[in-house]
Symmetry: C2
Subunit: 403 residues, 2 copies
């Protein structure tokens, strides 16, 4: 048996050969969930000037310092009302007040707004019945939106709030990574249709889609090295995924095809359980990942090899929610091997429990359906004892009781 | 001022008037992330028969009980090899062994498989050098896939694993909820183009999209009750969202239009901060939500009114990851009011801190960009003290240090 590669070492080596995906400019309205390829920083302040947040009277706080319910201060009331959207800033002299509506720019010289209910107009004067703090009822420049806010970082996904900020900045488009994938299902029995309903490639495609990676092609090839090679060479997408034909014994047409393309980097066989037959190659700077056709092994490779690899490159693939839960039974993995252990997390009496679902091995779609999360057991850990608290990554909702 | 409605009461009342969304049949390949409208349960076992998981010899465990490295047991070796995909079950009599490949059906009568390396063929006999446990190296029926597994529940989203199971079941389509939304931006200043880059409706649309709700239309209407009414009546989508024109004082054209349509249910004004001017109506069984045009108020209404409402109806909208973090300063909300408090969660010295970002109020897009999560302060809680641990819902990644 060949030596298995440590995942951490492979990722570190592969990283130095891999290029980032190409970039593409997309309209802002279509950018939600895309990975930004540029740092976007905000460029102006809102409000641009101090603004009233109530209907009331703009004044200088110091002019009303002596005001009280029974000892009102009289200010000179300037005629007119400042409305929101006024283009021209008004001006107040000491001892003056001016009516302002909610959202109106504060006149220059004023530093507070007294709500209408706390004052009274009388013969061109404003009677002020209480003190008012500086900046009371005033929204200061930059409170709503400010210069220098990070709207999108390189590699981060565009969020709803970021999309709003891009529109507010007047941006029409944004540079994002062109993160497309092609998928090839390898196997004579799949081409001939004798394999009973192949489905793992759909699970893989759905995983990619869920992580914001567009699957632009799903094809099938027989156990034919030349055919697999030709298909790989034909593609333009950044990511290439090959499903099946990765055995470390006989059935390894996929790995042979990859090797014969002379990639800059290739590692076959990972110290991961399940998913040890996976193969990661870098060809012309682009990652090619070959995975098992067994669903749990494939999922393990996606979570333990592909996701950390893309995150190391700076693409912030979303993480699942993590919870700590107590194991209902012992969970063991071979030493020196990273374990991908499916669990079902449920709550009982306010405590979270994680039930290991090791049964059935790498082919067990049942364990993925029964389970709602997984535990990644590090290389240097042999496992965890019953009752021990482990960190679970949840891909489904916590169950309400033991089911 | 009108009395504000308690959110919990409104949701309970509205629920009894609301119908579930209509359903639609979609091809399985397009079902990822859709909300299932049917309970799908698995219908068969895989493997259908016991299966070998190694290359080796099928035998009866009891026949090899006496075997040891220096005292091999000799079994009668039946000629031939059972390959994976063999249609016909072989049969073993006591004292017999038969070669099987990985994935091959176990012959009837056999109950274990001895790996090739632990045996030796000699003159038509198989020498067995070790004992083997019953079912060792055998995958039992149902281990990979079983009858009665829940593939999709009513109201749950179709996951990658569920999609694989649907394909495995031979399903071509699945009944899902037709969860579409229409969005109307209300305001003369938006129609006239004098409003400075309106963006809140894009944030709302992106939020809906992120939660698996398709936004099929975004339109604009002036402050004209009849125009708003006509637009609402024209729609076919399950969800209708109206942005702006919801003031509890003057500018409330949206609410007036809603009232004049005589919905079965309408509540205007929520005990929520920010987002108190929101309005929820049920018209012909379909929810119509009017929200503030201010981004934080709108986000608060989406998280505190719309998400719980749809979840109560049985649509399992995804939840954000939750973490407990210590407040870096006091966080207060008016009593009797649900608070939507933006925070920035960061890690320092292995401890998670949550910095409240209350500045700027309901218009502060800055607080949504600076922050990465929110705390929902219940109606009966006035707030939390500095240093207190609070539950934060994270819409972004935890920051690495105070930023």
């Amino acid at each position: 048996l060949r030596k298995l590669h440590r995942v951490s070492e492979v990722l570190q080596q592969a990283r130095s050969y891999a290029a980032l995906p190409p970039t593409v400019r997309v309209p802002v309205q279509e950018a939600l969930g895309r990975y930004s390829a540029e740092l976007v920083v905000s460029s102006f302040k809102l409000p641009p000037w101090p603004k009233s947040v109530v209907d009331g009277y703009a004044l200088r706080a110091e002019d009303a310092e002596a005001a009280g319910p029974s000892s009102p201060v009289a200010l000179k009331l300037k005629p007119g009302v400042v409305r929101p959207g006024s283009e021209q800033r008004e001006r107040l002299s000491p001892g003056e007040a001016l009516m302002v509506e909610t959202g109106a720019p504060l006149p220059e010289g004023a530093d507070a707004v007294l709500p209408v209910e706390d004052a009274e107009e009388r013969e061109g004067k404003l009677l002020v019945f209480r003190r008012v703090a500086r900046f009371e009822n005033v929204s200061l420049p930059g409170e709503e939106y400010d210069e220098g806010l990070v709207i999108a970082e390189k590699g981060s996904r565009v969020t709803p709030a970021a999309l709003g900020a891009l529109i507010l900045e007047g941006r029409r488009d944004i540079l994002v990574y062109d993160l497309r994938a092609r998928l090839l299902n390898v196997g004579d029995e799949i081409v001939r249709g004798t394999y009973f309903r192949p489905f793992t490639h759909y699970v893989i495609a759905a995983w990619l889609q869920h992580h914001g990676i567009r699957v632009e092609e799903i094809s099938v090839a027989g156990d034919d090295e030349e055919e697999v090679k030709r298909w790989i060479s034909r593609g333009e997408a950044y990511l290439t995924l090959l499903v099946g034909g990765t055995s470390m014994g006989g059935h390894d047409v996929t790995v042979k095809a990859l090797e014969s393309l002379h990639p800059e980097f290739l590692a076959h066989g990972f110290a991961v359980q399940p998913g040890k037959t996976a193969c990661l190659a870098i060809l012309k700077g682009r990652p090619i990942l070959a995975l098992s056709g067994l669903p749990v092994a494939a999922m393990s490779t996606l979570e333990i090899v592909l996701k950390p690899f893309l995150r190391e490159l700076g693409l912030r693939l979303p993480e699942y929610p993590r919870v700590r839960a107590r194991l209902t039974k012992r969970l063991t993995v071979k030493t020196g091997v990273v374990g991908f252990a499916r669990v079902r997390v449920y709550e009982e009496g306010g405590i979270l429990y994680a039930e290991p679902l090791m049964v059935g091995g790498s082919g067990s779609l049942a364990s993925l359906l029964r389970g709602n999360g997984f535990v990644i057991v590090p290389e240097d850990v042999e496992g965890f004892d019953e009752g021990e608290a482990v960190e679970v990554q949840l891909y489904g909702e916590v169950a309400k009781r033991h089911g």
